[in-house]
């Protein structure tokens, strides 16, 4: 370790071993300084420096010079456990040092991260702590029991104990004991379930407005509200980030950044704390359904027909007169719209038998004529032809039955031959024409 321990040539602590060796040279009035940050995270349990008796209390000056002691782990079972056991007298000073991610625990009384306790006119100044401190009774983020002075300090540690825990330190009874211009922004836990919890934002014990001055704690993170502000002034988290909330904070010591908590200038502007967040998102596929749509094509017979059409003329006459009865053109017309998906279909149009009846009851022979005018069937078939694909079109007249009954003799019957006309648009049509198979019988 460099230096001689005097105010002009203090011991310079540069390694964990140097730091551990401080306990070996704690003559009153010895001066120590940190030469750099000290990483104690790989160091075994660190034993608190000094003792609690008058002869062994720490009465030296320890100046961190703005450096940090990181990851220090201290486990104790006696009263006064911390980096320093008990800081005493005017020469007992710890200043300008931060304890980052400290882990200090004790089963006894008075547990703090910087010191188990202070007494006399000892001073803890410009220090801050983070990590965890746990003890029995009287546990504080900076000091277990303060009988001296704590100024310009803050803690963001988790402070836990059986009962009686304070954000900064419990206040001892000496009238000179003071805490001012400090704040607590950590959290609390106590284990005593049988008694009312004694949790103090800054300090419990022998506090008063002249001993606990301008010190603040976060009521949001601590979930602790003391309406009287007797144990520290409660601020919301938003207020904790507002400079105007910190009345009495010296701006040569304290720095303020918009949206951040106050910092001690001796350590420089603190880095922006890293953010860690997890976002859970959920998308989904809707339930799927099958749908069956059946297109039915049903072969159905569409019949269109008219009832018997008749034209009747009756005349009672005494003289020979012409009597004519006739039926205008009879047409059976079928139109089929072709469905593109249906390639074969039948179209039929036909006229059922046509009859012409003429009867006359006469006393003398007269001419009675019954006839059917020549009729014709025209079938036009137009089909797009693919090369090489035959198209068959068939048109035919089934028959033309003519049934004539002669009641009287001397009837004249003329049978006209069926004049069917067939037009074939494409080749390869097969046409069959049946001759009229009229049948005539004369009774």
């Amino acid at each position: 370790m460099l230096g001689t321990g005097t105010i002009a040539n203090p011991y310079i602590i540069q390694t964990p071993t140097d730091l551990n060796n401080v306990r070996n040279k704690i003559t009153t009035g010895t001066y120590y300084e940190l030469g750099n940050d000290i990483d104690m995270s790989k160091y075994a349990n660190f034993t608190a420096i000094g003792g609690s008796t008058s002869a062994t209390r720490f009465k030296c000056s320890f100046d961190g010079k703005g450096f940090s002691i990181k990851g220090i782990k201290i486990v104790g079972s006696s009263n006064f456990v911390g980096f320093i056991t008990l800081l005493d007298t005017a020469t007992g000073v710890i200043k300008n040092v931060s304890f980052i991610d400290a882990n200090v625990s004790s089963t006894a009384l008075y547990t703090g991260i910087v010191a188990g306790g202070t007494t006399g006119t000892a001073l803890i100044s410009n220090c801050y702590t983070s990590g965890n401190v746990d003890g029995n009774y009287h546990v504080g983020g900076i000091c277990g029991m303060n009988g001296g002075t704590i100024e310009n300090c803050f803690s963001i540690a988790h402070v836990s104990g059986f009962n009686h825990v304070s954000g900064i330190a419990r206040m001892d009874s000496p009238i000179a004991a003071k805490i001012y211009s400090s704040y607590f922004n950590g959290t609390f836990t106590i284990r005593d379930t049988a008694n009312p919890p004694s949790i103090f934002g800054i300090s419990g014990g022998t506090v008063s407005s002249t001993r606990l001055i301008n010190s603040y704690y976060n009521i949001d993170t601590t979930e602790l509200v003391e309406p009287s502000n007797e144990y520290g002034i409660g601020l919301t988290d938003s207020q904790m980030k507002n400079q105007s909330s910190f009345v009495g904070f010296n701006t040569t010591v304290w720095g303020f950044q918009n949206g951040n908590y106050p910092y001690l200038k001796v350590f420089g502007i603190p880095p922006t704390p890293s953010q860690k967040a997890t976002i859970n998102l959920s998308s989904h596929l809707n339930v799927l359904y099958c749908s069956l749509e059946r297109s039915k094509r049903k072969v159905s017979i569409c019949l269109s027909h008219s009832l018997n059409v008749s034209s009747e003329a009756t005349r009672s006459i005494q003289l020979l007169k012409n009597v004519t009865s006739h039926i205008d053109e009879v047409v059976s017309n079928v139109t089929t719209l072709q469905n593109a998906n249906v390639k074969e279909y039948d179209v039929s149009s036909y006229i059922k038998g046509i009859g012409s009846n003429a009867s006359r009851f006469v006393r003398t022979v007269r001419a009675v004529t019954s006839g059917i005018e020549p009729f014709q069937i025209i079938t036009d078939i137009e089909i797009p032809i693919k090369i090489g694909q035959p198209v068959y079109a068939t048109a035919y007249v089934i028959e033309n039955p003519t049934n004539i009954e002669m009641i009287e003799n001397q009837s004249l019957v003329d049978m006209m031959e069926n004049h069917s006309k067939i037009n074939i648009v494409t080749n390869q049509s097969d046409t069959e024409t049946k001759e009229n198979q009229s049948e005539m019988s004369v009774i």
Binding site: Q275, S282, S283, H284, Y289
Partner: protein, 114 residues
């Protein structure tokens, strides 16, 4: 209408696992910041006992994201271009330091869990 049965959904999940393998992180306005595939650290897992496929992505404040704000997660099937399959919007997160870390867990329910 009949619902697609479990086998049908399983085949869909298998297809999704093999085909929908990209998550694009966008800012609040939908501007792409980076598209992540499996080679970029995108983890795609499926719990056989559930009908969820999970896409997990851990983003840190590296040069791509430092100073940027992310606000959307988009599921895609191709490494470039393509059309969004699912877009989810979340509270904007701004990377203010290199140590900042955002974990996006995007779960896809096939079919929807009700």
């Amino acid at each position: 209408m009949a619902q697609i049965n479990n086998y049908g959904y399983e085949k869909l999940r298998e297809y999704i696992l093999s085909s929908w393998n990209y998550i694009e992180v966008q800012n609040e306005s939908g501007i792409a910041l980076k598209r992540f595939g499996i080679a970029d650290g995108l983890q795609i897992t499926r719990n056989a006992t559930t009908q969820e496929i999970e896409y997990k992505l851990v983003i840190t404040g590296d040069a791509t994201f430092l100073g940027k704000t992310v606000g959307k997660s988009v599921l895609l099937e191709v490494a470039t271009n393509g059309s969004p399959i699912a877009t989810e919007i979340f509270a904007p997160f701004t990377f203010e330091s290199a140590d900042d870390q955002l974990t996006i867990i995007h779960k896809l329910q096939v079919p929807q869990i009700v």
